[in-house]
């Protein structure tokens, strides 16, 4: 599965279309990522988990 920051959603959708999967679903997180510290990254990862579990179809 793919996780991208919200700034890259249009590019990710365009790339999915190139590969013939226009409805491919991404997990998205707020931009930016590159300048976050470890604690902020950990927080982002935790906030992403519900999206990741839903897209992977993990049963609760």
């Amino acid at each position: 599965m793919t996780i991208c920051t919200d700034s890259f959603v249009p590019a990710a959708r365009a790339m999915a279309k190139v590969y013939g999967f226009p409805a491919y679903e991404f997990a998205t997180m707020p931009h930016p990522l590159a300048n976050l510290d470890q604690k902020q990254i950990d927080t982002c990862a935790l906030e992403l988990m519900p999206q990741v579990l839903r897209i992977l179809g993990v049963e609760s």
């Binding site: 890259f8 249009p10 590019a11 365009a14 790339m15 190139v18 590969y19 470890q38």
Partner: protein, 359 residues
């Protein structure tokens, strides 16, 4: 201006065709030249390659550029048919350079290809190597580079805001094609330096982002001029990765300052390698004092991805070797002005140069 020789045409029909192309997004934003089969045939007649031969494949995009598609976009860009062998050589050089097929044209970095033309084709089709060499006013310079950009957009689908994710991009994305001013250079030209015959015509392709000019009209001392250029190469903003690379486009006046001091290109390169340096303290001040263990990008010491610091040398070289600098002479012989082109991709390897082939 006289209209005596102007062809009689229906201007509304021309505008309609141009607007149709614009509505299809087959453009870099400027009007493009409508292309008919007969006009396309004039381009294809300039090469012995077959129309379906692939000039560049982008497997990650499932798309190929063929000779025919390259010709259509060259014509749309405003090239004359006789420019097409140069466009094809540009594609060959880009393939040889290798970075293009690894997604660099989609990167936030926002690069453009720089094309440097050497040899007799410069005069044959009128590629500017003199005054305003990076500027406007010369059809081959304006349209050969544009042919590459239009192909990127129309064949590979690299539209901005979609597959082209450039954060800011560079004005060079419209066109970046120059010729070397071989006649005003005190040294062998770029293509001869890399093994071609002076009578060969070639295109050298590089991935570039910034073009930073150096004003130094006051000096006849090669050391002063060399330090000015070295300081520009080593600016911290350019230090994305562990080291950088550059093509120094010397104005003829600056080239003469070096040559009259007895400096060859290799001496200039060695001097720039030794003096394009930044102190560890200056790198630390901007948070670029460490190297990522995964990407080799610069980041602050203490970052979770940072390699342990290596304090065994200070200052830190901006270049990995003298060969990370290419030297070209271009521009007018009228002022002490040069440029540092910041290049991405291979560092220290020979540049990618391809021969312009006659049909």
């Amino acid at each position: 201006m006289t209209l005596v020789d102007a062809p009689e045409v229906d201007s509304a029909a021309i505008r309609a065709a141009m607007e149709y192309y614009a509505r299809q997004d087959w453009t870099d934003g400027l009007p493009v030249v409508p292309v008919t089969e007969s006009y396309l045939a004039a381009f294809l007649a300039q090469t012995s390659r077959k129309p379906d031969d692939v000039v560049l494949a982008m497997p990650h995009l499932n798309r190929d550029c063929t000779v025919r598609l390259a010709a259509i976009n060259a014509a749309m860009a405003g090239c004359l048919p006789e420019y097409f062998p140069v466009v094809l050589a540009a594609w060959d050089a880009l393939v040889g350079e290798g970075y293009v097929t690894r997604g660099i044209w989609q990167s936030t970095t926002g690069t453009a290809p720089l094309l440097i033309v050497n040899g007799p084709v410069r005069d044959r089709i009128g590629i500017n190597s003199g005054g305003n060499v990076f500027g406007s006013g010369f059809r081959p310079n304006a349209t050969i580079g544009r042919a590459i950009r239009l192909t990127a957009i129309n064949v590979f689908g690299l539209h901005p805001h979609l597959l082209d994710q450039a954060t800011q991009g560079t004005p060079a994305k419209y066109s970046a094609c120059i010729a070397e001013n071989e006649e005003a250079s005190p040294w062998p030209p770029l293509h001869v330096e890399h093994g071609f015959d002076p009578a060969d015509s070639t295109v050298t392709a590089m991935v570039i982002r910034s073009c930073v000019h150096i004003e130094a009209r006051h000096t006849q001392r090669p050391e002063q001029l060399g330090l000015d250029i070295a300081g520009t190469i080593a600016r911290t903003g350019a230090m994305v990765h562990e080291t950088t690379s550059a093509t120094v486009v010397l104005g003829p006046e600056h080239a003469r300052v070096f040559a009259e001091g007895g400096w060859s290109k290799d001496v200039v390169r060695q001097f720039l390698y030794e003096h394009a340096v930044t102190s560890r303290a200056d790198l630390a001040a901007v948070g670029k004092d460490a190297i990522s263990k995964n990407t080799r990008w610069r980041l602050p010491a203490g970052h979770p991805d940072a390699l342990p610091p290596d304090d065994s040398f200070d200052p830190v070289p901006a270049l990995n070797s003298p060969a990370a600098v290419q030297i070209v002479v271009a521009g007018a012989s009228n002022a002490g002005v040069s440029a540092v082109i910041e290049t991405l991709g291979a560092r220290g390897n020979p540049p990618s140069t391809a021969k312009v082939r006659d049909p």
